[in-house]
């Protein structure tokens, strides 16, 4: 039981983007996933990619309100990575040769959800690439770097925070148009 508590704490840290939790999870699991991918026709880079994608799945799950860890974190990570790598291999008409862990968790549903979220992410990324400066920089400063409007006003050369805010909303409207335009091309 103690083990699970520790895992839950780690996941909370992960959801809050705490470097110490992320580092801990990396240390305890990375080499296992690396081994899994590399003994099944993957490269060093493939292993890093699979692990990163797994971490993103975990991040999404840990951030949602209804997430409950049904098994050990290690098992969950292994199961997600395994499934992700298997899909990749199947795309190239290949299968697993070596599977080290006996027990795996059912992660099918979680991965489907992840897939959906990911398509939104891709759309947003594409729209961001199209929006151009200064909007891209401004929106990133506000939403990703979480900077204050005052700070943004100075950095982008607006006379005050209110002007920066007006520009932010103009950019948002523009981004929204691009986002839904992308949506329709799907």
């Amino acid at each position: 039981m103690e083990k699970l508590e520790k895992d839950v704490a780690l996941l909370k840290g992960l959801a809050a983007n705490h470097a110490s939790s992320i580092e801990h999870i990396y240390k305890e699991n990375y080499n296992m996933i690396r081994q899994l991918v590399m003994t099944n026709s993957g490269s060093e880079d493939d292993a890093a990619d699979v692990f990163q994608d797994t971490m993103v799945v975990l991040f999404e799950k840990a951030g949602s309100a209804d997430f409950e860890l049904q098994c050990q974190l290690k098992t969950y990570i292994y199961s997600v990575s395994r499934r992700l790598w298997l899909k990749k291999l199947q795309q190239h008409g290949r299968y697993f040769k070596v599977d080290t862990m006996e027990e795996t968790a059912d992660v099918e549903e979680d991965l489907e959800e992840h897939q959906q979220m990911q398509s939104n992410f891709v759309l947003m990324e594409a729209s961001m690439q199209k929006i151009g400066e200064p909007c891209k920089g401004l929106l990133e400063a506000y939403y990703i770097q979480k900077k204050q409007m005052q700070e943004i006003a100075i950095e982008f050369g607006y006379t005050n925070a209110d002007n920066a805010k007006t520009q932010k909303y103009k950019c948002l409207v523009r981004l929204k148009k691009l986002f839904f335009a992308e949506y329709k091309t799907l």
Binding site: N31, S43, V98, G137, Q167
Partner: protein, 373 residues
């Protein structure tokens, strides 16, 4: 504007920043107005997606940093082992695929050079009777050239120890607007790349240290000053800077550094506003490539009418330039921020009415590569 107000309202609504009264009023509005309700649903979806996107971006940045750190200090493995199930030679090929491709390119170039050398030997052989004269001339020429080279080398070596060129992370373009104090205009998105060093390089490959004087991200304009004492001042800039909008259809040309040498391109002004009606910019039809950022856009009268900033992702010929009037605004603002900044723009173009070739020849010395790291 209406839509921006709504965006503001929905964002505060979702993040629960509304007061109780405002919240219930907004709920009431939604109930009674189906159009508004639909718009709210749409905007909520958009803002949620944006929020998740931003979270994930931030998270991926952390992941990346941590992975790098752990690999560097060896906490997690990263040695290149040959994966099982692949013959070592295949694995080696996958690993070095890119290097092999590069090597092949180099081999191609080398063989071309080699074949040229062979041809020239062949021709000199044919005209054996003439060869000695040529050789002599060449020898004479070589001697003078050697002397010149020595003089240049001496000149370069005298003031200080020879400098090694900096390793730069990017290359873009900039052009001088005031030759008496060495002020140069480029893009804000260019100077933002220079976290440590900013270097201005002329078409002879000489590099000079520069500093950023003023940046305006909205207009994508930056004022840069060469502060290197080795830089020899140039004569007054040949072009003037236009302070008015440019009429549609006006023919323009660009000079910039999409490669390690100056490149000339032509085009015309196709719209008075930029991407999505951005009034700071105008739209051009021309070809601009990576490295052209910061290139001056010059009209037939020899006036700078804009500065290349970006191009449409899906259409390489649709290029956006920040209007030259923004240069005036930038230097006014720079002056306000720091009264020691005193940029003088020339109002008369010295290249008006010249042939295009002479215009290019005169302007080239004032267009620089902007590099840095």
């Amino acid at each position: 504007m209406k839509e921006e107000l709504l965006m503001d309202a929905v964002e505060r609504y979702l993040s629960k920043e509304m007061s109780t009264e405002e919240f219930s009023y907004f709920e009431e509005l939604r109930k009674n107005n189906a159009d508004l309700d639909l718009a709210v649903v749409e905007q909520s979806h958009f803002l949620n997606s944006l929020g998740k996107y931003a979270d994930q971006k931030r998270f991926k940045k952390s992941l990346h940093d941590i992975e790098l750190k752990l690999k560097l200090n060896g906490t997690i493995e990263s040695s290149k082992v040959v994966p099982m199930g692949q013959s070592p030679i295949v694995a080696m090929f996958t690993k070095y695929k890119r290097t092999i491709a590069v090597a092949a390119c180099i081999a191609g170039l080398v063989s071309i050079l080699l074949s040229t050398a062979v041809t020239s030997i062949g021709t000199s052989d044919k005209n054996a009777s003439l060869t000695p004269l040529f050789v002599k001339l060449e020898e004479q020429d070589k001697k003078t050239k050697n002397l010149q080279a020595k003089v240049i080398a001496l000149e370069a070596a005298t003031p200080e120890v020879a400098r090694t060129p900096i390793t730069s992370k990017f290359r873009a373009t900039g052009f001088m607007i005031d030759a008496s104090s060495n002020y140069i205009i480029t893009n804000a998105h260019v100077t933002n790349q220079a976290k440590n060093q900013l270097i201005v390089e002329n078409n002879k490959g000489e590099q000079y240290t520069a500093e950023v004087v003023y940046v305006n991200k909205v207009d994508d304009i930056a004022v840069v000053k060469i502060i290197d004492e080795r830089f020899k001042k140039l004569a007054t800039v040949p072009y003037s800077i236009k302070n008015k909008n440019t009429p549609l259809g006006q023919q323009i040309f660009l000079l910039g550094f999409p490669k390690q040498e100056i490149v000339y391109t032509e085009g015309y002004v196709s719209a008075s506003n930029g991407f999505d009606m951005d009034t700071s910019f105008c739209q051009l039809v021309t070809t601009a490539n990576v490295g052209n950022s910061g290139s001056p856009v010059i009209n037939q009268q020899g006036e700078v009418v804009g500065v290349i900033s970006s191009r449409e992702t899906n259409d390489a010929s649709t290029v956006f330039a920040t209007k030259s009037a923004n240069i005036y605004r930038a230097i006014q603002q720079a002056r306000k921020n720091d009264t020691s900044t005193n940029v003088k723009l020339s109002s008369v173009s010295k290249i008006k009415g010249l042939s295009r070739e002479s215009q290019i020849a005169k302007v080239s010395d004032y267009v620089f590569m902007i590099k840095g790291n």
